[in-house]
Assembly symmetry: C2
């Protein structure tokens, strides 16, 4: 069973990394760009076959380690 | 129009960041963990309404800047 986790900055939180990527893309000649935001994407292989239990476990991982709840949101997807 | 991009390490490429996350999760008491891999997730707001053209543009961005094609794969999703 595999968990796919997206950790993204909350709306309104400054994202200097995303800004830098946006400027670099403009410097390369890409135009029509609006906001660029960069987050993290984490894949975790999990033992067990209970999707509900896996989600609870991964939710705890996000709260304790993977996401900074003050400035970041997370989304969890469990794949069999 | 919004582009959502996942940049992940190719299978077989060592991922020390993912390994560190895995060890940290184990140290917190989570068990049954297999491989942990960490990638990047980028959202870009784009002008224009042509999804096909947007995809071509974002593909060029990935090849030129966002992904290191030697060790990374990328996936593009275009949302209206």
């Amino acid at each position: 069973m595999k968990a796919k986790i997206h950790v993204t900055l909350k709306p309104g939180v400054l994202d200097p990394q995303g800004k830098a990527v946006g400027h670099a893309l403009e410097a390369l000649g890409f135009d029509g760009l609006g906001e660029v935001r960069q987050g993290k994407y984490i894949e975790i292989d999990l033992a067990g076959n209970d999707a509900e239990e896996a989600k609870t476990q991964v939710d705890a991982m996000c709260r304790q380690l993977l996401a900074n709840m003050v400035i970041e949101n997370y989304e969890i997807e469990i794949e069999a």
